[in-house]
Symmetry: C2
């Protein structure tokens, strides 16, 4: 996931999106996981196939924001893949032939390194700001930027 | 959606998350919609109930990132609700009784004002960086921060 050198066929931007400061993000907490570099599942599906104790440690100043969440509820986490390059606009994924634009991929290397997964709340300690989750696919200590309830009428397309 | 004054029962943080600059976001483009303040659907479901021509105007430097996307495909947009307050941690939504923590709500007012909707691509002009979408629930000109393909194994929980 370091991906320090572009692979054959990949296209690098001639600027680094990290230097474009249109707005600022606050890290609202961090994700705790068993995963370190070289041993991290490639996605949440693969993370679920392995034993995985994972939880959120929310910034203590924000714990009131958890009111209303419940154990068993499905939530969406948005997290910040802070150790990745942001300037590879066309990529050559390991899992498929050829190259594709970053917006057609779930790669963590993107202009804004936002990752997003649907998970289930397995435990909740609002006073300490700890939220247990059923699985996650990022390094221990990855910064968290948002928690949202999963809402079918927003997150699924209507039947056509 | 301006929500300049906290409502009864709401809780304001004693700091403004906008001043916590843990990382910087690049606006990768803007969302074009018919909606202006006072006439914006409250969510994507309500937006779909109204005639809505909507599209993305991507930053011209990033158009190669669209390679691989297709008309008809379901994508997730992450956009930046740049005109909202970020410091109301417990909120009193108009649509329900009582107050709830922001992380249990899809409110645009949140420490990081990220909004997220699932939409379908209706047209694609990659050279110009224009992507037509079936509906959207934000003001004309709202900054866009990410486009991701919707992937069932990431965005849906497995059957249990």
């Amino acid at each position: 996931m370091t991906h320090l050198e572009a692979r054959p066929g990949e296209v690098e931007l001639d600027f680094d999106p990290a230097t474009e400061t249109d707005a600022s993000v606050m890290f609202i907490g961090h994700i705790r996981s068993p995963w370190k570099r070289g041993d991290c599942p490639a996605n949440i599906r693969k993370a679920r196939e392995r034993t995985c104790e994972a939880w959120i440690e929310l910034d203590p100043r924000l714990v009131q924001g958890l009111n209303g969440l419940k154990v068993g509820q499905q939530i969406v986490l948005i997290y910040w893949m802070h150790e990745t390059r942001r300037d590879i606009i066309v990529q050559s994924p390991r899992h498929s032939e050829g190259t594709r634009g970053v917006f057609s991929l779930r790669s963590p290397l993107r202009p804004n390194p936002l990752a997003m997964s649907s998970v289930r709340i397995t435990s909740l300690d609002p006073d300490r700001g700890n939220v247990g989750i059923d699985a996650i696919d990022c390094f221990d200590g990855t910064p968290l930027v948002d928690i949202k309830p999963w809402v079918p009428t927003i997150d699924l397309l209507p039947d056509e």
